[in-house]
Amino acid sequence: MRTEWHVREEHLAEYASGGCDPVVEASTEAHLMRCDHCRAALGQHLDRSETERRWRRLADVVDQPSRTSTERWGRRRTGSATGLGVVRSAFGTPSLLWAGAVAVLVAAALPVVAASVHQTRGLVLLLALAPLVPMAAVSVAYRHASDPVGEIVLSTPAAGLRLVAMRAVAVGAAAVPAGLLSGWLAGLAPSVTVAWLLPGVALASLVMASGTTRLDPVTVAVVLGLLWAVAVGAPASLHAAAAARLVDLVSAPGTQLAALAVGGAAVLATVARRDAVAYRRAA
């Protein structure tokens, strides 16, 4: 568009350097919007490198990866590249976020249900199902399909036990305190409230260890979960006396120590065979 007058050179120079009077600046800006000649003239007053730097800064702001609020929260707690990757995958995608939310919900609900159902059978329900929560978290963490880029993640330097373990912790971390707090609030005996924890750790560690073999961790989790739930739940569903004995048995220090030993051994085996997670033999 043509106009009859043009901005004076000294005003263009002031405008380009950012030292313009506000009134002149507004007038110049309005004129530049419709005058090709003055826009071209302005280019001569601009430092090319400075212009590029400003555009670059603008592009950096625009191209900043978007983050959800949960992701931002999680990101503050990690510094390393792998940690950032875990945060982006665990807090940025619904698959792992949902898994975490479900884990928290189940772990928190079970003690409440246990307290509201007939006393002993309710406790058996808690001891039969609560240990499955950490185990499920580990099996979800192993599934590369849960990753935002699927199989691509397996060819990156970050792939391996550390990534799987961090995701499992990200999914299961909130569930354990939620379960313990819920049990305490529901008024369960402290010995029963914590009794599911070590069996849960043992089962989760076994699933973690299965990932270092050709076995599918999800299949292992389903089989182990069924075995545990049936072994604890079935006898108790038949006889009330058996239910009481089972609660005592699972809460007993001997059982807890055995679970700790199984969990510890499985963790040691996983660490010893960690390379199998990073370089898989199974499809």
Binding site: R88, G92, G150, E151
Partner: protein, 287 residues
Amino acid sequence: MTTTALTASVAADGLVKSFGATRAVDDLSLTLPRGVVGLLGPNGAGKTTLLRMLATVLAPDEGSLQLLGRHPSRPSERLEIRRRLGYLPQTPALYPGFTAFDLVDYVAVLKEHTDAAWRRDECRRVLEAAGLSDVMHRKIRALSGGMRQRVALACALIGSPELLVLDEPATGLDPDQRLRLRSVLSRTAANATVVLSTHNTAEVAALCQRVYVMLRGRICFEGSPADLAAVARDRVWEDDREDDRAIRSWQTAEGRFRHLGEPPAHAEIVVPTMDDGYLLVAREGAS
């Protein structure tokens, strides 16, 4: 292992990979130099399994494998390979809730690029190379199949990898996008080895310096695209009728019959294409 194998980007010797009773890769040996290498073969020939081993996603059951002069079976060397590797799987499952830029940035993080400013520049570079500058801030769910494929390609290009493993990269791309892909891969191959699998012989003819035909887990042909076409030299003829002597026959768009095999006397021999060569190699390899 020979001196050539030691200097090659990929050197495999006696590779075996089984899934249950099925041998997906069976005593396979090859050496791949720099440049674009094409892998042809029917479905189930073992191409994807081989590429997954080259991408360090799967470990071979038997045999020796060297990538970029390193052994992926050794953890520290595998880490070094992965830092210099790009991989596009056959069916890249990309999370639809991320934008293209976020997804590429995420892969850059997994590739241990910790400098945020460098990562942003690199993301822009690979997205531009993949022709996605205009849609980089759109969610994956809003992109077409071809665009998603190019996002996955952009992920593979991060950090200018020296070994690029691409499983059917042209799937879902229109002719324009295929042309762009060729240009991107040709540029990348100047300083890298690009291994791609495809069913499209025209793609191989346009891109690849070397072509390998895989059948039942083994390499049954190795040479240039011209060598593959030459396999069918004097073994392709056209006729107005079907011919029982041919080992493969089909009707062309012009309504004539094209035959492969040992031609009869006075047959109208025609110039063979890569398709003819591939079909003969696949047929003879299967029998």
